[in-house]
C-alpha cells in the first residue's frame, strides 16, 4: 500500500470529505484513511489540506465537531455531517456527475 500522492483539485476535496462523513462521524485521521479507502488508494489527503477544509466547512455549518473517545480510548475530535452538509453533498455530487459527463463527451469527441 503505497498510494501515489495526487494533487486534489479544489472542490474535489470537499466532496470527498463530505462523502467520507456520510456514513458515520470520523476524526481527522479517520477521514484521511476513509478517503484513501473509498478512492481505492488513489488519493491520500494531506493534513495540510484536510484541516483547513474541515474548519472552513465547520464555519459554513456543513459539519459539526465534538470531542469523543477513539476506539483505543484516546481523546479525538469527531466530525459529523449536519443537515446542510447533507444537502451540500447532494449538490456537489450532482455537479461532479455533470462535469464528468461533459468532460467525457468532450474527450471522446476528438
Amino acid at each position: 500500500m503505497n498510494p501515489k500522492r495526487t494533487e486534489l483539485l479544489r472542490g474535489t476535496l470537499d466532496l470527498l470529505i463530505l462523502k467520507a462523513l456520510a456514513l458515520e462521524p470520523l476524526h481527522g485521521v479517520g477521514i484521511s484513511r476513509r478517503v484513501t479507502q473509498i478512492t481505492q488508494g488513489a488519493f491520500e489527503v494531506s493534513f495540510g489540506s484536510l484541516f483547513p477544509s474541515l474548519h472552513r466547512m465547520e464555519e459554513k455549518g456543513w459539519v459539526a465537531a465534538e470531542w469523543g473517545a477513539s476506539e483505543n480510548n484516546r481523546r479525538a475530535k469527531y466530525y459529523r455531517l449536519t443537515a446542510s452538509g447533507r444537502a451540500q453533498l447532494k449538490v456537489e455530487e450532482r455537479d461532479w456527475n455533470l462535469l464528468v459527463k461533459i468532460m467525457t463527451a468532450a474527450v471522446e469527441s476528438a
Binding site: F51, E59, R74
Partner: protein
Amino acid sequence: MPGRIVSLFRNLLRRNAVEQLLDDELQSSIELLTEEKMNEGLSHTEARRLALIELGGVEQVRTKVREVRLGRLLGDFAADMRFTARQLRKNPGFTTIAVLSLALGIGASTAVFSLVNAILLRSLPVPNPQQLRVLRWTGNEVRMTSLNELGDTQGTHMSAHAMTHPAFLDLREQGATLADVFGFAPIDVTARVRNESFAATGVMVSDNFFSALAVRLLLGRPLNAGEDFSGSSVSVVISYDWWERYFGHDPAILGHTLMLNGNGYTVVGVLPPDFTGVVPGDPSGFYVPMSAQSPFLYRPLAERFHWFVRVMARLMPGASDAQLRAALDVAFAREASPIMRDPKILLEPGFRGLAVKSNNYRKPLLLMQSVVGLVLLVACVNLAGLIAARGAARQHELAVRVALGSGQWRIIRQSFTESLVLASIGGGLGIMLSIWGKAALSRLFAGSPDGLHYDLSLDLKVLCFGVVTVLVTALVTGLLPALQVGQVNPIAGLRSRGAIGAPRLSVGKALVISQICISMLLLTCAGLYTRTLINLMRVDLGFNTEKLLLLRVSPGGAGYDPARRTSFYAQVQDSLSAIPGGRGASFLGYPPLGNLGWSGGFFFRDSSTGYAEKMQSDRLAVGETFFDVMGIPILQGRGFSSADAKDAPRVIVVNEALVQQYSPDRNPVGRIVHILTDDWRIVGVCRDVKYFNLREAPRPIVYYPFRQISFGATMGSNFKTAYFALRTSMPPMSLLTAARKAVADVDSNIPIDYVATQESLRDENMGQERLFAVLCESLAGLAMLLCCIGLYGLMAYHVARRTPEFATRIALGAGRRDITNPILGEVLQLTAAGFVLGLAGALGFTRLIKSQLYGVVPNDPLTLIGSGALLAAVAVLTAWLPALRAARVNPIDALRNE
C-alpha cells in the same frame, strides 16, 4: 449566518482558546497516527517520527487553518490597505486630484452644515428645551399705533411677536396652570463699566425669565420674584462674556455697580458661558427687570398701545399646546379686540429661542447645503469614473488575479478599500478645511468681518455629519468600480496586455452626462445670481448717490435728554453744512438702504374715517435741507425750509405712492393729516425713491422736519442716534476729518460712531445676493473643473482602448480629421445629453430661488443658453487633447505592439 457571526467573535475574541483547541486536535491526530504505526510493528520513536512527517508539520497546518478562518478579514483589510497605499503612491497625480476634489466637496458640505447646525438645529442650553414655546399673535385689519417690530403682513392679516405689557400680564395669569409665561424686550443702551463707555445690547425681562428658562447661574442669583413690579429694582444679571471682557473674571463681582444710560445698576448674578440669550444671533450683555420705573421705557408700562414685549412660555408636563392656546386666546382677545379682528395666539416651537433672525437664514442655508451636496456628488461621480477607467486599464492585472484564484468578493473589497482610503484622507482634510471655511462663510453670510453671532464650535453633530459624509462618499465612489471589477473576465483580460480587452465604458458615459447635468444646474444658478447682482447695482434709487457721505452720532446714551437732542442735531447739521468742500448736509432719522424704518397709521382730518380706516405709511424724519441734499425732486407744492421751525405750523411732505394709494382723487397739498397725537399739513409731494431698501416697490412715505417732532413721544421717534448725509464736491471719504471736527465743535464728547458712503451701503444691501453669486460661481467653477477631469479621463481611456483601431485606420489612409471629428462629435453628444437633462433640472430648481432674484426670471433663456454654450466650449476643449493624441497615433508602433 448566526453561526458565522458566532465563529467570527470566537475567532476574534477568544483567539487563544481557539488556538488551544486546534493544538489539541493536532496533538490527538499525531497520537492517533503514532498508534496506527505502532500497530504495524514500529517502535514508538520511529512511529512518532513518521506520524510527524505524514502530518506535514504542526505549524504549517496551523497557519493554513488560520487562513480559512473568518478573523482573516482583518488581516486582509490590512493587506488591502497596504496595496492601496502602494497603488496611490504610484499615481501621485490621480491621488492628488482625487483627494483634493473630495476634500473640497466634503469640506464645503461640513462647513455649511456647521452653520446649519448652529443656526437651525442647536437648542438653547437649558434643561428640556422642547417644552419652550414662542408666542405669536395674528389678527385681521390691525389698527396699531406703535409696534416695535417689523411684523408679517399678508393682505389685511398681520402677525408679530411683540405685545403690550398689560396683554403679557393677562396672558401670563390666564396660562398660569398650563405654562410658565415669561416676557422680555431687547434694549440698546450706552453702558459705562470702570470708566469705559460703549454701546451695548441687553434685555428687559420679567421676574420669572430665568426661573422659567431654568438657567443655572454661574455666580449669584437670578432676579427675584416680584422684582419687575417693585419699581425701584436696580438689579442686573450680566452675561459670561461681559464678566470676562469688562470684569476680567473678577470673583468679587457681585454687588458691583455699572452704569446703563447713566443709571446705576447692581450686579446680582453672572450667567454661564454657554447661555448667550434667547434671541440667537443677537447676544445680550445684561438683563434688567422690566419694572414700572425702568429708565429704558419710553411710555409707561401700563399703556395699552405700545407693543414691545416678546413672550415665551415653558409648557408644564402634561399640558398640551391646544389647551394653552385656548387659554391664551381668551386673554389675548380681551386685550386686542379693540384694535383688530380675529385676534389669535399661535405657539411656535421655542427650543431655539426667539429665532426670527435664524429663520431668515433658513432658506439660504438649506439652499446652500443642497448646492454644496450637488458639488460633492459631482466630485464622487467624477472620482468613480476615474477609478473605473483606471480599473479598466488594470484589466490585465485583475484577470491575472482572478485566474490565480482570487475571489470576486475579495477584489470588490479591495476596490472599496481604495475609495474608503481616498474618502478618509479627503474627509480629514475637508473637515480641517471646514473649520477655516465656516469662519469665512459666517463672515460672508453676516456681510461683516465679525461674522455671525452664533456658536459655530465643532460639536458631535457636525463631526457625525462629517464622518457619515465620508462613508457615503466612499460608498458612492466605490460602488461603480467595484461592480465593474467584479465582472472581470479572466480569459478576455489575459488575451492582451493593453487596455484593448477592456470593456466599453457605458457607465462612464452616464457619469459624464450626469456631471455635465449638475454643472449646468450650478452654472445656471451662478448666472442668475450674477445677473441679479448686476441688476441691483444698476437699480435707479431715484436720488443722487454720488459723493454722499453718511455719518452717525449717538447723543442719546451720553446724557442728552430728548428735548436737548433736537437742538444738538440742529447744531450738528449747521456745522456740517459749513464744511468747505461740502455742498450741504441733512439730518436723517434712518440711513438710506439700511432696512431700518418706522411706520404707523394716519388719517385725513377732512374725512370722517379716523384710525378705523387702515392707512399705513413709513415715517422718515429729515432735515429741512433733505430734498436738496439728496437730489429728490418736489413734484407739487414745496419742500421744507428753515421757516418750518419747532414752533411753526407742523408740515409734512408725502411721496407719490402715498398720494396714489390714499388721495388719488384729491389734491393732497393742503390736506391735514393726523398722526399719533398731532395734526400735520401736507405742503408738498416728492418723487418716489427707494429709500429703505433696493428691491422694494415704492411704498407710501411721510417726511417730517425733525425739528417739529417732539422727541421721545414714542419709541420710533426717540432718535437716541441719528444719521447725517453730507453731499460733497470731492471724494466723500476725504471730508471725514473735517466732518469729525465739525461734530466735535458742537460737543467734543460725542464722536462720529459710524461712517459709510452711499456706495458702501449699497454693497451691504446686496450682501446676500453677492454671497450667493460668489458661492454659486465658485461652486460652478469647481463642478466644471471636476467635470473636465472626468471627461478628460473618459476620453483618454477611450482613445487608449481604441488605439489599434485608429492605427489600422491611419495605416489604411484615414486623415487626421477622420479620427478627431468622431471623437469630438461624441463629446458633443454627451454634452448635449447633459445639457438637456440639466436644462430640465434647472427649470425646476431655479423656481425655488425665484424670490431671491431681481430683474431676471428663473428660466431666463439668455442664462440657460449661455451656460450651455460655455459647457460645450469647455467640453470640446477638454476632449481636444485625447482626440489629437488619437490622430497622432503612429500606426507602425501601435500595430507592432499587438
